[in-house]
């Protein structure tokens, strides 16, 4: 078989950070190619370059041996490369047919859009997927699964020879995944090249022919799926020397600080219970998007669970917490929430470091109280955290990712709290800063604090934490001491959870 697409030595940097260095990828017609790696490994960036959304800094792309120059999504579409993006990309106020033909609508003699032709061809493309949706229906009326299928129908309709599916099953249930996989196989048999990005091992092994693993923007390797085991694949994805970076664990733990009992995240999920003691760092691990974040955000009222009780320091919270006042209420109970996305949800990028740290202290005082400068606290915090900046008045937006993350954490460490709920403590942070952040969190528990943390990087959870809860399908499927946990065990526990329920 010859290569339909050859991407050779692609490099791409965003600002100062390198997203891809010299990655090569070959796609064959009539085969499904899995692209795997942790978040931030560069999978999506690589595919967005192939889809014309991002432009490569260096490297070359060939299609059937001819060089391709993709300057815009339009160029890629015209070359026959269609993408189902991870984020919703259909327009909700357009009908299925209009979405299907957007940008290349057929017209009648009078220059009007030929709705009749659009409608019949759309119905045909949907029919190929076994769907009987009305083409004139607005996309806003569709379920997420239906939208996903419409996007795939869009690729079929565009007669693309290359289909890129970026985590197509993240929002689908098992039955819809089956339908999707059947259709992907059919497309493969028709000679299309399919790129399949997913975190679900079982799908990779059931569906894909070849797998390429990326890590930190570099190519780890490409293998035939038939010649590799799950263990080997996981070893390719992980295998990083992070062990030296972690602080020592603490021996003893103190009083119970958080107790969650029979919490049902959704109406249909299994109830979960969990406890957390002073001096402990406890992790919520598992595959991506299995409910870890929904659970953590249930604690602050940002997500409303179906049922259950939560008590902090022995005092039960009144459920449901309101979305707007939940964080404030928890602050009074000396609980801090460190959100995942520091740029969107956490920091005020245009404001100086001092304000970003002090806001944690201000928020605990009455609304109209005069703002104290807190100069000593801020100076001490910056010293303890080793924040590298021109001074406390430097805007946070000018700092590196690692230093930004430290400022965010500093806000909560300065506020004299007992419990921290941390999402993704080290996302987009370099190794050195990661280590510093781990030590800061450990120091916090040494002084009697407790931390509940979730992260996509399992290695980080194993190294940092005392105990690990494995979350799958909106519930806890296993609990293990971190000292004995391995990535394999966690993944097994997560997948066993699904397997057990399916049989």
């Amino acid at each position: 078989m010859t290569n339909l697409i050859e991407m050779s030595h692609i490099s791409k940097a965003f600002g100062g950070s390198k997203a891809l260095h010299s990655v090569s990828l070959d796609l064959k017609a009539g085969s499904v190619h899995a692209l795997m790696g942790e978040n931030g490994a560069g999978k999506s960036t690589l595919m967005k370059i192939l889809a014309g959304v991002h432009q490569r800094d260096s490297g070359e792309i060939f299609m059937n041996g001819e060089k391709l120059d993709l300057k815009s999504p339009r160029d890629a579409l015209e070359a026959g490369i269609s993408t189902v993006f991870q984020e919703h990309s259909l327009l909700p106020n357009l009908s299925i047919a209009e979405n299907m033909f957007l940008g290349r609508e057929p017209t009648t003699r009078f220059g009007s859009i030929d709705y009749r032709a659009m409608s019949s061809q759309t119905a045909k493309a949907l029919g190929e997927l076994g769907l009987t949706l009305d083409p004139s229906q607005l996309v806003s009326n569709l379920t997420i699964a239906e939208r996903q299928f419409v996007e795939i129908a869009h690729c079929i309709q565009a007669d693309a020879s290359v289909l890129i599916l970026d985590e197509p099953t993240a929002a689908l249930n098992a039955a819809d995944v089956d339908v999707l996989n059947r259709n992907i196989r059919r497309l493969r048999d028709k000679g299309k090249a399919v790129v399949y990005i997913s975190h679900r091992m079982e799908e990779i092994f059931a569906l894909c022919d070849t797998v390429t693993v990326l890590k930190d923007g570099a190519l780890v390797g490409t293998r035939m799926v038939s010649e590799i085991t799950i263990d080997e694949l996981i070893a390719m994805m992980v295998g990083r020397e992070l062990q030296d970076l972690f602080p020592e664990r603490m021996g003893e733990k103190g009083d119970e600080i958080l107790r969650v009992e029979s919490l049902k995240i959704t109406e249909t999920s299994q109830p979960l219970s969990l406890t957390l003691h002073k001096g402990e760092i406890v992790a919520l691990a598992g595959l991506e998007g299995q409910g870890q974040q929904r659970f953590l955000r249930s604690l602050i009222g940002r997500y409303h669970p179906f049922a259950g009780t939560i008590s902090i320091n022995g005092k039960a919270l009144r459920m449901p917490l309101s979305a707007s006042a939940g964080v404030r209420h928890l602050q009074k109970l000396k609980v801090g929430f460190v959100p995942e996305d520091r740029k969107e949800e956490g920091l005020f990028l245009a404001l100086p470091i001092a304000h970003n740290i002090a806001i944690g202290l201000h928020s605990r005082r009455p609304e109209l109280a005069p703002a104290r400068p807190y100069r000593n606290v801020i100076a001490r915090m910056m010293e303890v955290m080793n924040i590298k900046a021109a001074g406390p008045s430097a805007p946070v937006g000018s700092l590196s990712g690692g230093n930004q993350q430290k400022v965010l954490l500093g806000r909560y460490l300065a506020a004299d709290l007992d419990l921290l709920l941390v999402e993704e403590p080290t996302r987009g942070v370099d190794i050195g800063a990661k280590s510093e952040i781990y030590h800061l969190l450990r120091d916090f528990t040494r002084k009697g604090g407790a931390v509940l943390v979730l992260s996509r990087e399992t290695i980080e959870l194993i190294g940092l934490c005392d105990r690990i809860y494995v979350v799958h399908d909106d519930t806890i499927v296993a609990e293990m001491p971190a000292a004995q946990a391995t990535e394999h065990k966690i993944l097994d526990a997560a997948l066993m959870g699904t397997a057990a329920r399916q049989h």
Binding site: V53, L77, S89, L91, L94, E98, L102, T107, S112
Partner: protein, 320 residues
Amino acid sequence: MYRSLFNILSRRHTRQGLWGLPLLVALVISLWLTVQTTEFATAENLFNLVAQAMPLIIAAIGQLVVVLIGGLDLSVGSVISFTTAVLALDQPAILLIPAVFVLAAFIGLINGLAITRFNVHPIIATLSTQYIVLGITRILRPVSGGTVPEIVIGAVSGSFLGIPYPVFWGIVVILAAWKLLYGSRYGLHLFAIGGGIASGAESAARNFGVSDRRNIILAYVICSCFAAVAGVFLAGRIVSGDPNVGLLFELDTVTAVALGGTQLSGGIGSLHGTVIGALVMALLANGMNLANVSPFVQTAIKGGILLAVVGLQSRKKMGL
């Protein structure tokens, strides 16, 4: 019965917006005026009313094009005044009439470029051109005066079969706008870009290979050109150039668009809704004049209407 009527009037899950309710409002006001006054429900008065409303209807259609892509054009009032001032420059009509459209298109181009190339917020960009164009208009014609070409006056004064000329011209303009919005690829792209912006995925349309920048610039050019058409109508009616004739037109057009069920965040709205919205504004003005409401109070009432209609049509309830 009541239920199904309500459903038709407040149809959700369509891209047209809630245009049924303003239609009902228009009918209620008309009914009230018919009962209250003897002179309202005559063919002559109704045609005059429509003819009077025509500049607002046309300018509001231009505003609609911009609102659909998630923008706003505050310079339409100034463009209208500017157009009348240019038409009163005492030059041959063959020169003046193309000139006003070229100049209007140029103003729209500046708006569009400022917004797409230099990332200026639409309100700020068009507020700036509003000032600039107003200033130039006052240099050309500090106070009302001059005479517009005979042909412009003739085109809007007079009637055929008892129907005033402006009604015919208005129908032509509305048909052209209909073709643009519903019978062309550009019209669909306007909805697509606006829908993407309103749902927070600004690059959504671009991912389909639709050029957002070019289409947005064109929307502002079209809006300015429609304002120029409205300006020509008004110039023909007042016979002279007037730096104040377009005053507050930007707010009236936005109110008419919003009243017609169009979402100011973009992607949802309709031409017929906008026409109805502008007619409701005219009916209200007519009614308030008949009821001897002072013009100052009328302005305040219009502001209240804008706030109310925008506040009551939450996008979430539309489910889009």
